[in-house]
Symmetry: D2
């Protein structure tokens, strides 16, 4: 029986999105003979009816590529959709329009690939009767209902590679090297890349830090003959009792502005407390880019195949999920709005502390 | 309480061995103030009393390095140890010598890092009363009692990188590219790198292949306008009803000899059956080398810390193990001599078949 | 003035071909408003009139990709073109057909990107009155009339990466690791990757080797406490007084056949002469693949821009060339049929010998 | 004849320094039987008589490692050496002390590896009668007297890799991605990585930019359907008529401070002028790190061997240099204090403009 399925990718992009799309198309079109419709730029394509038919030729060669061939859109909420009319900005509920669009196209089920916000809208569409299947996506690995998502390990690889590079130059020069990585609410990238890269200090949002303890660690190392230190700091890390250091943008800040983030803040404080030179690297969106790692390509492929199988089994409202090394499914309802933070006394933090890594707590 | 612990690395090397050693030393010496003795070249060092004291300075900077700073030795069995006397080769049981050596050194427990053979000897030493802790190591990921071991993912990365490179040149030239990878008894590297690299055909020891089905797949692709194909073949793959194609060495083969392995065999057969040009890459020990991937560094670090904790808890005779995403412990007894093969109808094979990968079965 | 220019890529592919095409299109179409016609699969497209119009959108995103979007063809000579008629193979001069084809398309000049064979045909077309511009391409860096070509450095990177990986595992295991790399007539890849990777022995076609000298070097290292050695061997290397070891294919060899190349030959000999274990890696076409290195992308871009400028200056019959760090032009006539071998007492070989690398001479 | 030679590495570190040291030791010790003394932390080791004898075992395995096993020191000038006495900082001429130190050690010649500042001191020592040989080092490739130096290409590789990664995520999200790279006075890294990475805009110190022209380029792309742009900006780039945007440090700036550099400045301006989201990556010292590329390893090895040969030929006061693809020597005198800027109408800038890259001029 031929079926017609829609798919979109929403939220910040992750290496592996294309691998999911490829697996869906290869399985649904190649194996089952269904038709797949891809909407462009996340929910925006669903609202504006901007789509293309995804054939096998469309997904040829995309396995190795970062980004998403469908495009994405960060903040488009179809239930609260930004429209400009006569120069005026309004937010309108376009969800009925979406329901109409897919009905007219004859699409019976939507595969929604996205993070917390994107999946929350998917859940709301499900409540309106849409048949949806979710695929989780988060570079920060902070989704509660799945052990791991694709893209995260690639980001850890990129951050670890940067730490490896900082190591050699730090060793030659008696300096404090600070690497600011992604992780606004959850410190997984900082934690895993910090352990993998052999960092001396890791600062994450879950563990507010005391800068004096960090300085102490550096001075202890100096006294032990190690005149350099590597610090990995998640962008959302904050001092104990302090606030997150926000990078202000031109729109919301009076002049003179503080453009540096937490990495620069830590550098500033430590150069004062240790009298050592500090250097800051801000990796930024480099972490979202690049070819997905083999691990992420495999995981994304498994997710894509599993999503198609959920449709075959008519398990709508479910999201594919990795538990241990098994692919399973949970309801989208239970998946959204629960952040998976680094457990502050979980195994990974304890391992890190065992080998002498300082968290500033 | 200061304690004295021995450690050795045995069997073929894997990226991550140094990370295990580093974690053991950082935790045992740095945190608990114990003394760590490292034996050189696997059991050989234990037999010949060849060792060094491992201080924190010895493990500085080794996290990122492949190989093992202790050296290893592939086939030394202390219960059946090869000695040459007056030009004559004999095999002698040196296990009592080993027991004596560590007693004289005051070593109370040995951490044995190795694969199936190395761990089997560890079990035999345990039976003789030695306190041992095992850490699993296998590039092929074929140990039964743990979900994953370090080094495997690095090997998958290396193999996938080779497939990625073959893809571009294959596309430009209408050829069959064959990549022979490690995996004498278990096809995990071929399977995972094949999925990750987008191979068209994967041949593994667990699924004897019919070369005609492989040729059929290639001809189907040709008829669909795809004039190139990528085949990943594990060194232990074999034709249905046939034998493993062994690379003979000069010592055991009459002239003229067949030096090519299964990769060359497949190339030969397919160039005949498809009339397409074939090219073979034999990755060999390149797969054992290189800096461990972040995933493997983290896993190896967790293993090292867990091994020290097992000593503290006096859980001798146990091996650290990864189950799902948790570190746990199993008895060495139940860990050895059980191969973890690719389940021929497990999820990964089914995923691969879903996206159209041919196994020749 | 709008002009119409043709382009093709011939011979074995190289990382950087797409970068040349991109630079030609960006400059010719984007800057000068010309029209570019790309022929598929080398001269085959010219003979069979198989082409597409190359617009800027066609070259978007291809800078980083290996291979060639036009496809290539290894052995098609339009002056001696293989055709099958009634099951019979004939070789026909199709050069007049080619001249007709481009005349009818209104193409005034052809940019021919290729190696020695491809450029020889370009020269022959020039003699028939075709306006041609040559762009040199050789993975082996063995073209006489240019210092370097794109793709070569990427191949050296790939080979060096393999040596780096072999190093760690060799060190841990007291073995001889042999890496067979490309280079049928010229040993540049072996020489440069061997120096860059810290090989102990380099064997190249230009310097016939005595296997006993190689074994001597390995034994000297063993006596000095270094129980491992790395050997890089070009596929065209041969023993002094011996022949090149050819990998026979099923078509031309009686059974039993020797499928292994020079790498296996060297392994066989050395395991006999040194009693050390040997392991062979055959990189094969992996060396032609992958994303071009930044150096190669820049060089390829410079070539592409320079080719367009030669057309503007009406310097037909010329080939772009790198001399020192300057882009210049030479006549295609003087460029073809002159191999650039490794000078056996040139600076690079002397440097290699200075740091103790053995060539077996 | 046995000779005793000293060596030091000064200034900011570069991938390849270890390769130079290795080549010097392998050639001087291994081939000629000389003795090599390595001074620690640049001139500081020479002043404080802090040194070690470099044997072949010291340089084993360092070819692939970034940094310098000797350590370096950024701002120590032996003619104006910072000393603290009774809590007071003074600057003292320690050059006579240095002369004495090496005389007492019996060192007949010093090999000085460093950038402009380090080589200027070498020249001054030469004037005082010291026999010196220079080896040029600059990550920025801005030394006048040599075509290229090691480390630069590795930095270009790192920057290009970041651009490649930014590309995929930029394409998916309709954003301006800004990469700030090294290059305070010369824009070589920005220029070469920008061409290699396919940047849309390159901003370098040699070409003061008009932000409106940059915004125009981005808007032109947007109108042509390309909703993302990649900008590479050298840290020393500055607006036409403006000043270099300095990253102030806590020591020299009143609160509130501007911690962001030129990358943030450009982001701020463009988000205003184009209404597109901008994201900034500041690579920082990651560019100095990592394993040297094969090209840099070979060049560094050639430099090391050439430095030893200059000593043999007693060509003191000379610096090794790469001209085209030949290693030659120039006097240190003519090498120092001449910056090699990007020629604003040289071939590379013209090539970049040919393929549509905007410089803001």
């Amino acid at each position: 029986m031929s079926r017609k399925i829609g798919v979109l990718t929403g939220g910040g992009d992750c290496p592996g999105l294309n691998a999911v799309l490829r697996a869906i198309v290869k399985t649904a079109v190649g194996r089952y003979g269904w038709e797949i419709i891809g909407f462009r730029d996340g929910y925006r394509g669903l609202v504006l009816n901007d789509y293309l038919k995804l054939k096998r030729s469309n997904v040829s060669g995309i396995l190795v590529r970062g980004g998403t061939i469908l495009g994405s859109s960060n903040r488009d909420n179809p239930f609260h959709f930004k429209v400009e009319e006569n120069g005026e900005v309004k937010y309108v509920d376009m969800s009925d329009q979406v329901i109409n669009n897919i009905a007219e196209l004859g699409i019976e089920c939507m595969v929604i690939i996205g993070g917390d916000g994107t999946l929350a809208s998917a859940r709301d569409f499900a409540k309106k009767g849409m048949k949806v299947i979710g695929v989780p996506k988060t570079i920060d690995n902070d989704l509660y209902a799945t052990d791991t998502t694709f893209g995260f390990m690639t980001a850890v690889n990129t951050a670890t590679d940067a730490i490896d590079k900082l190591h050699t130059t730090a060793e030659s020069h008696h300096r404090i090297m600070i690497l600011e990585v992604m992780g606004r609410y959850a410190g997984w990238i900082a934690l895993e890349s910090g352990i993998a890269g052999g960092a001396d200090v890791i600062l994450i949002p879950e563990i507010p830090f005391q800068i004096k303890k960090v300085a102490q660690k550096i001075n202890d190392r100096k006294n032990a003959g190690k005149s350099f230190s590597i610090i990995v700091v998640a962008e959302g890390a904050k001092p104990l009792g302090g606030e997150m250091v926000v990078k202000k943008t031109v729109a919301d800040s009076p002049d003179p502005i503080r453009l540096g983030g937490i990495g620069n803040y830590v550098a500033e404080q430590l150069s004062c407390l240790t009298c050592l030179e500090t250097r800051v690297t801000v990796l930024g969106h480099v972490q979202r880019g690049g070819s997905p790692s083999p691990f992420d390509r495999i995981l994304a492929t498994r997710y894509g195949v599993a999503a198609v199988e959920l449709i075959r089994e008519e398990k709508y409202g479910m999201m594919v999920s990795l538990q241990g090394d098994r692919i399973t499914a949970v309801t989208i309802e239970e998946a959204v709005h629960k952040l998976k933070n680094v457990p502050v006394d979980g195994e990974l933090v304890r391992v890190a502390k065992s080998i002498g890594i300082e968290f500033g707590d």
